[in-house]
Amino acid sequence: MPPMSTDADAAVAKLEKVRVETYRTAPDEFADTVESVVDGPAVGVELADLDVSLSDTPVAVDPTPAALKAATTGVTAASLCVADYGTLVLPDDDRGSELVSLFVDHHVAILRESDVVPDMETAFERFDADLHGSAAAGESRTSRILATGPSATADMGELVIGAHGPETVTALVLEE
């Protein structure tokens, strides 16, 4: 296994700390790793910008809304990870990534090792650059979610993990 960068190491440690079960996986192990972390009926959004595909996995890509509602696991790409916080940056796009990452009990986020940034400031510089880049290219606006751990609430008298959003989150860090 090639040595991981410091940022990625820090990210993995922090992800675990915020209750995100995290695995590193090489591209040739990817399908097996996905299979081992999904439970119940699984749906997903194809990983457009990554060198791996969900097509060889048990994940049903591009589900109907009814299939999404019946699913337990949702698999989507994360565009960035902020090492300091264990924060996964999830796209809100026209392919349904937001729906698939949100309306399930278990979310699996796929992340490229090189998409780990050290801190929040760097992440926001990246967002800002994306924004101006897409504006210059005449592309549509960008929406994204900074997701740190599973959903949670303290409104029912005690801390409960798993509120409206997913109760469990897994991250797969793709080695390159």
Binding site: P65, D93, F124, L131, P150, D155
Partner: protein, 775 residues
Amino acid sequence: MAKREEYERLIRTEGASVRENTQGFNQGRYESVAKLDDYEGLKAEARAIKEDAIERLPELIEGLRESVESNGGTLYLADDAADANEYIREVVADREADRVVKSKSMTTEEIEVNEVLEADGVDVVETDLGEWVIQLADESPSHIVGPAIHKSREEIADLLNERFDPDPPLSTAEELTGFAREHLGELIESAEVGMTGANFVAADSGTMALVTSEGNARKTVAATDTHIAVAGVEKVVPSVEDLSAFVELIGRSGTGQDITSYVSLLTPPVDSPVVDFADDERPLSEHDADRDFHLVLIDNGRMAMRDDEQLRETLYCIRCGACSNSCANFQSVGGHAFGGETYSGGIGTGWEAGVEGLDSAAEFNDFCTGCTRCAPACPVKIDIPWINTVVRDRINRGADPEAFDSLVDGLTPDAEGDDAPDHEGETDGRPPLDKRFFGNFETVAKLGSATAPVSNWLADLGPSRWLMERTIGIDRRRDLPEFRRETFHEWAASRSSNRGDADADAVADAEDRNRTNGRRVVVYPDLYTNHVQVERGKAAVRVLEALGCDVVVPDVRSSGRAPFSQGMVRTATDHAEDVLADLDPYAASGYDVVVVEPSDLAMIDREYEKLVEDGDRDALEAVRERSYEVMEYVCGLLEQAGADPDPLVGADDRTSGSTGGRDTSDAPGVVYHSHCQQRTLGLERHTVDVLERLGYDVTTTDVECCGMAGSFGYKADYYDVSMDVGAQLREQLDAAGNADRVPVASGTSCLEQIDALLSRTPTHPVELLDPESSV
């Protein structure tokens, strides 16, 4: 006395839950911000962004309008609540919506949009679990971040079981959450309109940030085809990049989380496909994102706040709740007492004054005692105590902004005529009688000392106490301060230059060594040290002399803390000018100024800046630069100037066995309660350092305030709150490991409160060190 009964009821019914939650948030804040490399730098950055944004607000709003429109949304700038509600009604009616699902938004509480939509027959559903609970209970939020923190798990279970009759009944927090998730999930998925707030909105892109943890805001937006975001105009910042500092600060400051589970950075209308969750034919990618977006920006008094030099700072508020969580009084009573129409806690005063008006702010403004513990907690460095003082001043003045507040006629029998307001009464442009009494405490103290001990006997008589409670609202259960016939200043002036009887050779030698330090010191005769706690003043003089200082106690006016606390800003300013005029010549000739009472040092150190005119700035700087809390000064003498501590009474001098040895094993330990304002000034550690240097074993308390807070604990309306806050301190002082220690405190109020709370008698730290110590 209706207020008193209401507060007592809230402490009894909601206090325990509020306390547990706010103290948990507060403790979490301390732990979370400690992990930041540069917390102060981050706060300064956040502050600068807000200052700039509010300065350029009209321009930013226009930029935002362009961004939102080019994104395909609509921006509506509403003048007031009615205007906003009318617009929202139309949007909902045009969509022919049966249901609006909402994520948490205090601004929608402010405009009361739920009632308006419900009157149109629309089903309005709060999806934040806390908001949903209070919607079911038909109550109002008790905290701007945790709306239902006043409810225990058991109360929530009872509420849901009664309302929905689930089988089996719900009990655990997991069961309650699971039920809510299912129930609300169905309602969200079939709703047409999703309404959110917005924590921040970036003008250059139209990107808004939503800071949440449950995921309901995400669902509210993703599952509906019409998104209405409601936000105050002050939420606009220049660009997305500006959000970074706030994202790092808001969770830590509010609930003590490094970051909340979700920070949505949406540039609406969002691209998520609009779906019917029953559709089992078409995959997600074949659904269009046919979604309308309306950003409703609300003025509702905010642009006027922007033009108001004093209230403007309120607009920097990011609604994190840190000022509520760090407030000892809020921890006891919560936002149902310490809150107005919509907003609660320390900054609530600014919001209510600006949005609703002074009447709403007046309902709860007196809960702010000016303890300043919220000031360092605020992520945008708002001087929240000052806003409370300003608003109190305006309330005092009522309709007549030119009214004069320092007249002492309120203290004479003349004022008890027909037109004299009682302590709950309306004012005729003057502060109410109780505020004038406490605010002019200098006059009371002078009279008290001049006629002591008769004044003390008279004041303590039953009928006097009854009259005092009735007219100026002093709770008769409180011990009154006992005025001393000989003031601290008089003692110092009449005393020979002979500095006590330093008979031991070693001590004399050490004093001779210390004498070479040649520091000249003014011990400031603050109001309480001068008239009531005279012994601690004498102790301060003797300690400083023993460390080689040349000490004088000039006749200087009281700091103005008393009128400042009552919102009598002009009277306080009058004091400030006199004090600076008196002290500046000393500072100019090289004297340091040592202050015993922390709240008076805080006047010089942090409040005078707000009070004095430009002409007094140089004097203020000169005096402030040379002013020290007494133990801070002793610490400096010992640590930096190398003074010999031998003449001071250390732990080894208090051992029962050996004399003069260094064995302190059976010396009494000390439990130290630092003063709230002293802690805000960062001066707690100096006292601990000095005591430890002198061999004392020291533990400290960590409650934010003792609950007495100057005049607050004396007031009959607030006596129960004061004692409830004090009970927290008592618990710590009497905890295992502390129960046998000598209680030590720096503030007059703290000493009085501890005296009332414990059977042990507390002492000021400088009295422990006093070469002529009697404690």
